[in-house]
């Protein structure tokens, strides 16, 4: 299972490295979303207060695109079917694709955070770095896991573009809430302190634990004919 996962993650990342869809298309998209948020929210004070939330919202929107892309490379030439035909362990496919997605998301989130510092004058504190990094890790894993799970279900069915957000967005709500609050605590947004953030990280941890087990079990039945 883990051997297959490593194989698939390496393949996905190699494809991404060659095609540069994330860097050339998804990142610019996420950036323009960040700028648009500022237009919609108008004043500097409001933007500064909600900066962590905007980072995670932009991540969620980008997640939808990344998941579509991750499964488009599989369905383009019948590779999903070829994988099933080759008897590749579905749990391995799930973990591998989630791993590759997590790596891409992590890059995206770091860029968005830097952007939040630049555009929304978010402030990084030395004391909050540990919390911030752990939050990024946990939230990234959570998003990648559920994204892969529902992306696999929606891949190859009619109306996948509309079905995926309908299934995915309600599920990632706890990540949005948890990651935003933890990030606020880490950045000290509107007077939050670092210790406020740890309970939220617990929530993210439970989320990751549940969906890594649930997803590993569920992915096979979901993609099977």
């Amino acid at each position: 299972m883990f051997r297959v996962a490593r194989l698939i993650a390496a393949k996905d990342l190699r494809i991404e490295f060659r095609s540069r869809v994330v860097t050339n298309q998804v990142l610019p998209f996420a950036m323009i979303v960040m700028v648009m948020f500022a237009f919609a929210l108008n004043t500097q004070e409001v933007v500064e207060r909600v900066a962590p939330g905007l980072v995670w919202l932009a991540t969620l929107f980008s997640l939808l695109i990344l998941v579509q892309r991750a499964f488009a490379i599989e369905t383009a030439d019948g590779a999903t079917e070829a994988m099933r035909a080759a008897g590749v362990d579905p749990a391995g496919i799930f973990l591998g694709k989630a791993l590759a997605l997590a790596a891409q998301l992590a890059v995206l989130e770091i860029v968005l955070l830097v952007l939040a510092v630049v555009l929304y004058s978010a402030k990084l504190h030395v004391g909050g770095v540990v919390l911030l990094v752990t939050t990024l890790l946990a939230a990234t894993c959570g998003l990648a896991l559920v994204g892969t799970l529902y992306g696999g279900l929606a891949a190859g069915v009619r109306g996948r573009e509309t079905l995926l957000p309908l299934l995915l967005l309600p599920v990632v709500a706890p990540v949005l809430i948890g990651a935003t609050r933890a990030t606020e605590a880490a950045l000290g947004t509107s007077g939050a302190v670092v210790s406020d953030g740890w309970p939220w990280l617990g929530l993210l941890g439970v989320f990751v634990a549940l969906f890594s087990v649930g997803g590993t079990l569920a992915f096979g039945p979901l993609i099977e004919e």
């Binding site: 060659r18 383009a76 030439d77 079917e81 070829a82 035909a85 008897g87």
Partner: protein, 227 residues
């Protein structure tokens, strides 16, 4: 002889349409069976059924000793399917593709090299991205992926499509070698001359059923030569 594929009155459904409407067929080890029939007759579905992809709606089926009704996933690791789609990643090179599909069942680097060599991809093309290949070259790459998988039962859907003369010769030689090594091959093809010469048996598929099964005249000589 050992029976590799046994179908009895198999019905398979795609959506609500019965692609297979009661097909019965027995294939023994070492055979090269050619499925022929008009478009939409059910050749591809038959291959997908053997590969354990399509669920059996009614009837019985056994492939390599695995019951298709209860245990169709088990058959997959031992079967190699070349479908209409090649299953290649267009951003990866030829070698990377073959290596990826080979390693899903743990093929070694030497086996990957051998597969590339076999389909004439070891030289100029091996580091070219699949997106830049012609249709025939992609087909060759897909075949190389299949060879690297060392399957016991080969299921080929129009393998000759898009291949040039040299490619066809290489394919045919590969298939003969495979059967000599104990593999069984089922080919769906419209190219009777080419595939008929290779096959040991012709099977006609019509309306989701097996109509007729007869020994191929060209194949008799072939199987004797191989034996």
């Amino acid at each position: 002889m050992e029976i590799v594929v046994h179908l009895s009155n198999a019905v398979a459904v795609l959506g609500q349409f019965p692609v297979l409407a009661g097909a019965s067929l027995t294939v023994e080890r070492g055979e090269i069976v050619l499925l022929q029939g008009p478009n939409g007759a059910g050749k591809t579905s038959l291959l997908r059924l053997f590969a354990g992809l399509l669920p059996l709606a009614r009837g019985e089926g056994t492939v390599l000793g695995c019951d298709l009704r209860t245990n169709r996933e088990a058959v997959r690791k031992r079967v190699g399917l070349l479908g209409h789609a090649n299953g290649l990643y267009s951003d990866l090179t030829v070698t990377e593709n073959v290596r990826f599909w080979g390693s899903t069942i743990g093929a070694t680097e030497a086996e990957v090299e051998a597969a590339l060599m076999r389909m004439g991809l070891a030289q100029r093309l091996k580091d070219v991205q699949v997106a830049k290949l012609s249709a025939g070259q992609k087909r060759r790459t897909a075949l190389a992926c299949l060879i690297a998988r060392r399957a016991e039962l080969w299921l080929l859907d129009e393998p000759h499509a898009g291949l040039d003369a040299a490619g066809r010769d290489e394919l045919d030689a590969t298939l003969r070698e495979a059967t000599a090594a104990g593999a069984t091959i089922i080919v769906a093809s419209h190219e009777l001359e080419r595939a008929g010469a290779l096959a040991s048996r012709l099977v006609e598929v019509v309306g989701g059923q097996i109509r007729d099964s007869q020994a191929s005249p060209g194949g008799e000589a072939q199987s004797q030569a191989a034996g």
